[in-house]
Each structure stands twice: as structure tokens, then as C-alpha cells.
């Protein structure tokens, strides 16, 4: 049980931030009461099982109050992938829509609205996707924190039977202080959508982002959800994603999480009906003094559901990372198939990576597998490259790069893959030796 006294909790003092948020009196009351329950429950700590690898002590003196609007430097989106011309782009700065930076190019018919508007037009309980459950459940705390303070975010509702050809690009920029973007995505039956999300922070900004995303896929719907997270070394990002997948629908999550001072992705996917599938893959990268954690929970609630997880972790210098993946097969979910693969590379004696794939099977006739390895570079591969005349440093850099490529090549579209790759390359040891190998 987490029993952090309120006086020292990072949550203390947030009540003063509540007035001024969008929505009527009913929302104000809902927030006040939710925050009260969250304060009683406390912020997650490593004593809470799903947070055991996360150094939440870092949050001690962090300013969590929502950031006030402030002027932006002109090149503030320089790190975002893809020329704006390729995608309609929607930019949220510290959790608020920024029209000047957005390019709703050709998006006239795009089913996009803003969470802030939704709040104004709704009451608690009338939203299609609920914002948070009870914060007594540690898995609901980041969502509750976000729900209390969210002012805006993208809401994408694709009606049944439509296909959005373009990739929607959502950029979240943090400039310092708290940011609480809320994303809601509903993909109707038989529809398909590609969303690319980028989380950035300005240079040295001491930002604290608690982002929450709710996703619901109707029957036979298809969503590719790509997330590129490149926060600065003094910034904290919690990204909490909850997904519900209906019969024969497919959810794909592609992650390149390159760490901030502290980064954590919490991905919970419920496969609700036969034929539902989830494919999760990602790079977990922690270098310098950064931490990057990924935690997944996939629930097979019906038979003939499939999940596939492929995560690759790299910890360099004093970096710390973790993959904590849990698969639960509910009673009666026969003919479930589930695979988990977690391979992790340690570069440097002070780097650490924890990997914990877990399976909980409560049904017969299922096919489930999991594997995890954590270690240094493969000596046989290294020797092979040396016998071809490569310098040892080059061979090592090349193998590290290859390890990362193996997962990044799953990232679509190619422009995002390249952006992620460039960022990783910029941070790999001896990357300058790789010029000959990188197209």
C-alpha cells in the first residue's frame, strides 16, 4: 500500500489548479472529488507492484501545476518527424491546442475534434469513453491525475465503414511545468485509421507530462498507433494508454521511447471478443542518466484472440530501463494465442535493464510463449565482423545499431521510422563510425 503523506506528495497543491478548466459545474465537482480520492490513494511508488522499477522519488520537488501559456521559440518542433506537408498535423503545447503550429492540411473531412470542446458540451457520465476508474486501483492513478487536470487533446471518432487514407499526426510539446493531454480515439466497425503521436519537450525544460489515451475499436476495425517519445534529459513523461478491441479488430502499437529524465509507458489492451488481435512492438532506450520503462497488460477476455509483443531494450551509460509485460488469459478464452519477446542490450557496466514477461493462464487449449534475454553484444557476431576487417569500435556500434534497427523497421510510415532512427543514432556510442552503413 502506498501511504505517502499528503504534505510531501507530488500531488499536494494541485487543487488550486482546478478552477479555470473547461466544462461546467458538474465537471468541476467531478474533478474536485476525483482529486480528493487520488490524494487519499497517493502517487504510485516502487512499492506498488506495477511500478516496482520506476524511480518515482524523482518527482519529489517537481512542479506538477499545469503550465501557463508562454511564448515559444521558433524552432520548437524541429525534432518532430516528417515534413508537415505529408501529414495533417495537430499540435498541443502543454496539453492545449496550438492552432499556429498545426497544419490541418486536407483535413476538412477528418473526424477530429478537441477534448476541451467535448468537456464543454458534456457532463461526467455522458462521455462515450470514461476518463478514469477508481484511483484505489494503482493502474488508475495516472489516468485519474490526467482526468483531473486535462484541458484539451485530440478526439478522433471514425464512423463505421470508413477508411482514412492519410496518417494523422499529433504532436505534444512540453515547455516546462505540468501538461495533461487527453486523447480519445474511437474507430467504428470496419474502419481503419493510422495515428502518429510524437511527444517532445523543449531542450532543458523541467516538464511533467501525464498523458492519457482512451481507444475503442469496433468490430473488424484497424488502428495503427505509432508513438515517438523524445523528451529532454530533465523532463518526465507518463503515457497511459487503455485500449478495448472488439471482434476481429486489430490494434497495432509501435513505440520508440527514448527516455526523458524519467519515462514510462503504460499500455493496457483488452481483447474483448473472438478474433480480436493486438500487436505491440517497441524500442525502450535509456542512456545518460535517463530512465525509460514500459509496462503492458494484455487481457484475453474471449477465445480465439491473439496478442504479439516484441520489445527491444537498450540501456547505455547509467541508463535504466524496464519491460514489465503481463498477459492474462481469462477463463473460457480457449484457442488464445499469445507471444512475448523481450531482448535487451546493456552497454556499459552501470547500465541496467529489468525484463519481466509474465503469463497468467486460466483457460485450456491455448498457445502462449514468452522469452526474455538481457546481455551485452553477441560475441559471435562481433568476431564475425572483426574477421571481415572492421574496427572493434565500428563493429560494436554496428551491432548496436542493428539491434535497434530490428525493431525500428516495424515503425510505419517510413518518415517516422527515419526520424526515430536519426534520434537513436545521435545517441549511440561511436555513431559517427556508422556513416558507411546508414543509408
Amino acid at each position: 500500500m502506498s501511504a505517502s503523506p499528503q504534505a510531501t506528495s507530488p500531488l499536494a497543491g494541485l487543487a488550486t489548479a482546478l478552477p479555470g478548466l473547461p466544462g461546467g459545474a458538474a465537471w468541476a465537482e467531478w474533478r474536485r472529488s476525483a482529486l480528493e480520492r487520488l490524494l487519499a490513494a497517493g502517487f504510485p511508488t516502487p512499492r506498488d507492484e506495477p511500478w516496482k522499477y520506476v524511480n518515482t522519488r524523482l518527482l519529489g520537488r517537481r512542479d506538477l501545476a499545469p503550465a501557463p501559456p508562454r511564448p515559444l521559440p521558433t524552432d520548437s518542433l524541429a525534432a518532430a518527424p516528417a515534413p508537415a506537408a505529408l501529414f495533417p498535423r495537430f499540435v498541443f503545447v502543454d496539453g492545449r491546442f496550438n492552432a499556429a503550429l498545426s497544419h490541418p492540411l486536407g483535413s476538412g473531412e477528418l473526424p477530429l475534434s478537441r477534448f476541451g470542446e467535448r468537456l464543454e458540451a458534456s457532463t461526467p457520465g455522458s462521455l462515450a469513453l470514461p476518463l478514469a476508474g477508481d484511483p484505489q486501483d494503482v493502474d488508475e492513478r495516472i489516468r485519474t491525475l490526467n482526468a483531473c487536470l486535462a484541458a484539451d487533446g485530440p478526439v478522433i471518432v471514425v464512423p463505421a465503414g470508413s477508411r482514412i487514407a492519410t496518417h494523422l499526426h499529433v504532436v505534444h510539446l512540453a515547455t516546462g511545468g505540468g501538461a495533461y493531454p487527453r486523447t480519445q480515439i474511437i474507430v467504428g466497425a470496419g474502419s481503419a485509421l493510422n495515428v502518429v503521436e510524437t511527444h517532445l519537450s523543449l531542450g532543458d525544460a523541467e516538464a511533467f507530462v501525464a498523458a492519457a489515451t482512451d481507444i475503442r475499436l469496433g468490430e473488424s476495425a484497424n488502428l495503427t498507433h505509432t508513438s515517438l517519445q523524445i523528451h529532454g534529459a530533465r523532463s518526465v513523461l507518463f503515457d497511459d494508454v487503455a485500449v478495448s478491441v472488439a471482434a476481429n479488430a486489430r490494434y497495432q502499437h509501435r513505440l520508440a521511447a527514448l527516455g526523458g529524465q524519467l519515462g514510462r509507458v503504460d499500455l493496457r489492451v483488452a481483447l474483448e471478443a473472438p478474433g480480436a488481435r493486438a500487436e505491440l512492438a517497441g524500442l525502450i532506450f535509456a542512456d545518460g542518466g535517463r530512465e525509460q520503462h514500459v509496462r503492458t497488460l494484455v487481457e484475453h477476455r474471449a477465445g480465439r484472440t491473439q496478442s504479439d509483443q516484441l520489445y527491444r531494450g537498450v540501456a547505455a551509460e547509467r541508463g535504466r530501463g524496464s519491460y514489465d509485460g503481463r498477459v492474462v488469459v481469462h477463463p473460457g478464452a480457449a484457442k488464445t494465442e499469445s507471444r512475448q519477446s523481450s531482448r535487451n542490450l546493456l552497454l556499459g557496466r552501470d547500465a541496467a535493464f529489468e525484463s519481466r514477461p509474465q503469463l497468467e493462464i486460466n483457460a485450456d487449449d491455448v498457445k502462449c510463449s514468452h522469452g526474455a534475454t538481457t546481455g551485452t553484444l553477441d560475441e559471435q557476431m562481433l568476431f564475425y565482423l572483426l574477421t571481415r576487417g572492421l574496427e572493434r569500435d565500428t563493429a560494436k556500434a554496428l551491432l548496436t545499431y542493428a539491434f535497434v534497427r530490428d525493431v525500428l523497421r516495424r515503425v510505419q510510415p517510413a518518415s517516422v521510422e527515419r526520424a526515430a532512427e536519426q534520434r537513436v543514432l545521435g545517441r549511440l556510442p561511436a555513431a559517427e563510425l556508422l556513416k558507411e552503413f546508414v543509408a
Binding site: D378, E379, Q380, M381, F383, Y384, L385, L386, T387, R388, G389, L390, E391, R392, T394, A395, L398, L399, Y401, A402, F403, V404, R405, D406, R409, E436, F437
Partner: protein, 260 residues
């Protein structure tokens, strides 16, 4: 090009004793290979053939306990693996390693440039390089898709061996050691590989074929055949020794060795 003359000693191994995980695998091995020659090293499984190949190529976890190895007059054992490669020593692996994410062509080009750099030559021109690779791939009957794939990634056993020979042909080594390149190949693939090796034969180069079977030697005719057993060369001879081994097996050589 090179100042190596036919008959010059390229490799001279004397009393080589090697331990792998504290087990003595090579025990006082002697071998001399001269420019222009093809040697075949044959022997039963577990005789130390692969250990010899890997230790000559510089595998770091194989511990040399005694003996010397000189290559082109230099102390081979003092050089790290990458320096041996740059000086023209090539190892064709028995089990070539798969490296997903590292492109075949990029690796080949980097390997060639490392060699050229050592020879004082400029980097290879990208266009000429691709033309050259395509020609050699044709000779090795390799598919175009190879160009865009990762190193040995998803290759069949035969494709991996062809890839080793392709690398050898691009790098044009002074001394090529081919470790069981023939194992797992069907007869057509064996002919292709043999053709590749034969195309490399020259007065200023040498090839050491490490093999379990005589079959490869029908297509690549060796100047000398050695029997490796109990960690040393027990018997040397010409091609007829290989044929005799095929007929009589290895036991008689071992018996002779034990009697001697």
C-alpha cells in the same frame, strides 16, 4: 601488385597448443603453407579442425598455451582478428553468423575498404563496387534480393556458404581458410563454391580447405593433404592420401600416429 612470389612461406605454424574452456584441443600442431598452394586439412569430427581455423583467424576466447604462428613473416598470434583480416587472411565460417539489421552490401563494402586502406589504396567507387558485386554474384548464382538483405539473415545453409565465398572473392585474400565450406551443400552448390575457390587460385595466394569429406577435393585439387587428429597433423601427403582416407577411414592414421 603484391611482392609475394610463388613458393614464399605464407603461414608457418609450429607446436601450436590451444585450449578451449580449459580443454586441450590442439596439441603441438605444425603446418607450413606456401604461396600458390592449396592445402586440405582433413580429420574426424572433434579433431580440432574448426579450432585451428578460428584460432588462426583470431578468436579471442581460444587460449594459445604454446607454439607460434607466423603469417607473411609477422607474428600472427600478436595481431587482433581485424588486423589479420586487413593483412589478407580470410576465414570462411563453418556456421556463418546471421546479423539482422546489418546490410550485406554495406558490410562487404566496409570490409573491402578496410583491406584497401591497409594496402594504401583509395576507397572503392560505389558504382564500380556494385558492378563488381553483381558480376561475382552471378558467378555464385546468387539472387539479386541478396543485395537488400541483412547479413546471412534468413539464408539457407547453402546460401550462407555461397555468401562466404562471395565475400572471399570480393576481398581477394592472400590466405583463405575455408572451414567446412562444403558441409551441407548439394552437388550443384558444391560445384558453384568450388568454381569460386578455383577462380581465386593464383601464384601469390594460398587456400586452406578444412573438410571432413574428400568430395570437395574432386573439384578443388589440393597440392597437399593433411590428417588432423588428436590435436596435431598426424600424416601429410598428396591428393592420393585423401582418396585413401575415403576408402579406409581415419582409424589407420590414428593407429599409425599412436605407434609412432
Amino acid at each position: 601488385m603484391s611482392n609475394i612470389q610463388q613458393g614464399d612461406i605464407l603461414l608457418e605454424v609450429h607446436g601450436l597448443t590451444v585450449e578451449v574452456q580449459r580443454r586441450k584441443i590442439l596439441d603441438g600442431l605444425d603446418l607450413v603453407v606456401r604461396a600458390g598452394e592449396v592445402h586440405a586439412i582433413m580429420g574426424p569430427n572433434g579433431a580440432g579442425k574448426s579450432t585451428l581455423s578460428q584460432v588462426l583467424a583470431g578468436r579471442p576466447d581460444y587460449e594459445v598455451k604454446a607454439g607460434t604462428a607466423r603469417y607473411c613473416g609477422e607474428d600472427l598470434l600478436a595481431l587482433p582478428a581485424e588486423e589479420r583480416a586487413r593483412r589478407g587472411l580470410f576465414l570462411g565460417f563453418q556456421y556463418p553468423v546471421e546479423i539482422p539489421g546489418v546490410n550485406n552490401v554495406y558490410l562487404l563494402k566496409a570490409a573491402l575498404n578496410a583491406r584497401r586502406h591497409h594496402q594504401g589504396l583509395p576507397e572503392v567507387d560505389a558504382f564500380e563496387f556494385l558492378t563488381m558485386i553483381r558480376d561475382k554474384m552471378k558467378l555464385m548464382q546468387m539472387d539479386e534480393s541478396f543485395l537488400s538483405r541483412g547479413v546471412n539473415e534468413g539464408f539457407s545453409g547453402g546460401e550462407k556458404k555461397r555468401n562466404e565465398i562471395l565475400q572471399m572473392m570480393v576481398l581477394e585474400p592472400t590466405l583463405a581458410i575455408l572451414d567446412e565450406t562444403d558441409s551441407g551443400l548439394d552437388i550443384d552448390a558444391l560445384k558453384v563454391v568450388a568454381h569460386g575457390v578455383n577462380s581465386l587460385r593464383r601464384a601469390d595466394r594460398a587456400v586452406v580447405l578444412v573438410t571432413h569429406y574428400q568430395r570437395l577435393l574432386d573439384y578443388i585439387v589440393p597440392d597437399q593433404v593433411h590428417v588432423l587428429a588428436h590435436g596435431k597433423i598426424l600424416k601429410s601427403g598428396d591428393r592420393s592420401l585423401a582418396l585413401e582416407l575415403e576408402k579406409r577411414g581415419y582409424d589407420w592414421v590414428r593407429a599409425e600416429g599412436a605407434a609412432a
